[in-house]
């Protein structure tokens, strides 16, 4: 059994801000039914670009629900610029930490948030730029490079924990290894 903190358990059993936000003016979606988790984040942003309300709908394990719940609590009241600086580490910290195998749940939160902010600003985030590395979980080399740099990841296992990449059929593991090596080589 995973060792979840009391905070994770609390946010799973009593998630804050669940459901569709009727008057949302920004939405960010990430994940899929096939991947095993997905998050739809709703924001209501006022004319000063302040997030006055946030809610979520999540399909996934307990830490996915808890991460989504935590995310909405963290960003409520922030301006979009402030929210844009929230990292997946902030979400995990808010919950008193996540088992390392579940860090991808916090990454999912961060990703939905980025998409919601882009949605509000009318920016098209280029869908998955870069070269596809992991087909099972649709993860590109650029995403891996970002995660490796942001979280100081060292091994393919770390990458799987954060992005799921490599956690399915495993045929992409060699390629993930190369991407990690390329980041290390850059220094």
């Amino acid at each position: 059994m995973w060792e979840y903190t009391d905070k994770v358990k609390d946010h799973f059993m009593h998630p804050r801000n669940v459901g569709e936000l009727k008057d949302a003016n920004a939405v960010g979606e990430t994940g899929s039914l096939n991947c095993g988790d997905a998050l739809k984040l709703f924001l209501k942003v006022d004319e000063n670009e302040r997030i006055v309300d946030a809610s979520f709908m999540t399909f996934g394990c307990a830490s996915a629900v808890a991460s989504s719940s935590a995310l909405t609590e963290i960003i409520k009241g922030m301006t979009l610029d402030e929210a844009a600086k929230v990292t997946n580490g902030d979400i995990a910290d808010y919950l008193g930490g996540l088992p390392k195998e579940k860090m991808h749940c916090s990454v999912m939160g961060k990703s939905a948030l980025q998409k919601a902010i882009a949605d509000y600003r009318g920016i098209q985030i280029m869908e998955k730029p870069g070269e596809m590395v992991c087909e099972c979980f649709e993860v590109t080399d650029l995403e891996i490079i970002d995660a490796v740099k942001a979280n100081g990841l060292e091994t393919t296992e770390d990458v799987t924990n954060y992005l799921k990449a490599g956690g399915g059929c495993g045929k992409c593991l060699d390629r993930i290894e190369e991407v990690i090596a390329s980041v290390k080589a850059e220094g």
Binding site: W2, V18, L33, G36, F59, G60, V65, E101, K164, G167
Partner: protein, 390 residues
């Protein structure tokens, strides 16, 4: 809080009768069964009786029973023995829904030892592709290993029929009967299997005790080489206490077999039908007919297994999920994937596995808890709207 235990394919409660049988051998009767004194032979005698009881459960001869440390050791030693018997043969056959105790060994033999491995696929109901299996048999086949019943779905393979065809060709046949034992009748005197694995902790004996049946006349190459224990077929001083417990457990299992296929099956069917009736978007995995009487693998659309398990856990209900989210792997279990169970319900699959200790009141409590858990999780799920999958 009361525990409602419906995870018997993972492990079982050690029966009170088994504990009682074992207790004296934890204490005063600590002799070594091999010793040349009456004190040691008190244990030796109990082990001979236990061997007889284990043999009786599967209609074997006591000489055909080797005690091991677990089901995994039984599986591994059977397969290694077969490879040692035919070092010149390079093809080995199993299915893609085996327990890791067999599947990962086969993958190791393929990747590290150069064996040509055939993984026979299953269809959507979990049935083996028998044409492919029979078509793969050749002079180069060293062993065929197929499970008698699947731990996740309970689907039963027609082992006797397959074993007959395989052994007629002079090919060794091993079956992992860890989940079948005590749940459906096993009769090796008519089943044509050369080797068969059992595990104590699935039949209300302790963990860490297993059995390998090796048919008379089949040459066995030991896996643990050491003393003369188990007639030189497995070195190491016996786990006397657990062997004695397993003997008792097998005696009880034989007595309980009829209950499994009536009382336990009825409870399982009741649970299944209540869940199907009270919750929309639900599907049962695997063949409904050829299935262990205690097992229910059931998928709930648009929700995730670990979340369900934690909500059950809050009520003291123990079950397993088929989404491997709980095990570290991120895809649904290899068994559900092999059966092409759609992702929408594979991630939300729960396995309930019952025993004769379960009651109807417990089933009612599970149903009630499930109805509310699924409702709560679907209210949160972006893939569920207005009573259906979106």
């Amino acid at each position: 809080m009361n525990v409602i235990y419906t995870d018997n394919n993972a492990t079982t409660r050690v029966a009170d009768e088994v504990i009682e049988e074992m207790l004296p051998f934890f204490g005063g009767f600590y002799g070594n069964p091999s010793s040349m004194h009456t004190f040691g032979d008190r244990v030796g005698k109990k082990i001979r009786q236990a061997r007889q009881k284990v043999a009786d459960l599967i209609h074997a001869d006591p000489d055909e029973i080797i005690f091991t440390s677990c089901g995994t050791e039984s599986d591994n030693s059977a397969i290694f023995s077969a490879l040692n018997a035919h070092p010149e043969k390079k093809q080995i056959i199993t299915s893609n829904v085996e327990h890791p105790a067999v599947l990962n060994l086969f993958k190791y033999l393929r990747d590290k030892k150069g064996y040509d491995v055939v993984l026979v696929p299953v269809d959507k109901k979990g049935h083996l592709d028998l044409d492919l299996l029979y078509g793969s048999l050749s002079d180069d086949t060293a062993v065929v290993s197929l499970m008698w019943a699947n731990n996740e779905t309970g689907v039963i393979f027609p082992i006797s029929e397959i074993a007959k065809k395989v052994t007629e060709k002079g090919i060794l046949f091993h079956t992992d009967a860890v989940q079948a034992a005590g749940k459906i009748p096993i009769d090796v005197s008519v089943a044509h299997v050369d080797m068969l694995s059992l595990s104590g902790h699935k039949v209300h004996a302790p963990k860490g005790i297993g059995v390998l049946y090796v048919k008379k006349g089949i040459k066995f190459f030991p896996y643990l080489i050491g003393g003369h224990q188990e007639k030189g077929r497995r070195g190491g001083t016996e786990n006397t206490v657990s062997i004695i417990g397993l003997g008792k457990a097998c005696e009880l299992a034989a007595q309980h077999l009829p209950i499994m296929n009536t009382q336990v099956k009825e409870l399982r069917d009741y649970l299944q039908n209540q869940l199907l009736e009270k919750i929309p978007g639900v599907s049962v995995n695997g063949d409904l007919e050829n299935r262990l009487p205690n097992t229910l693998s059931i998928g709930f659309d648009a929700v995730e297994g670990e979340s369900i398990l934690l909500m059950l856990d809050k009520e003291g209900i123990c079950a397993s999920s088929g989404s491997a989210c709980t095990s570290g792997s991120l895809d649904p279990s290899h068994v559900l994937m092999a059966m092409e169970v759609p992702f929408k319900s594979a991630h939300g699959t729960i396995r309930f596995s019952l025993s004769h200790y379960n009651t109807k009141e417990e089933m009612d409590h599970i149903v009630k808890t499930m109805v509310s858990a699924i409702e709560t999780l679907r209210a949160m799920s972006p893939f569920w709207k207005d009573g259906k999958l979106v």
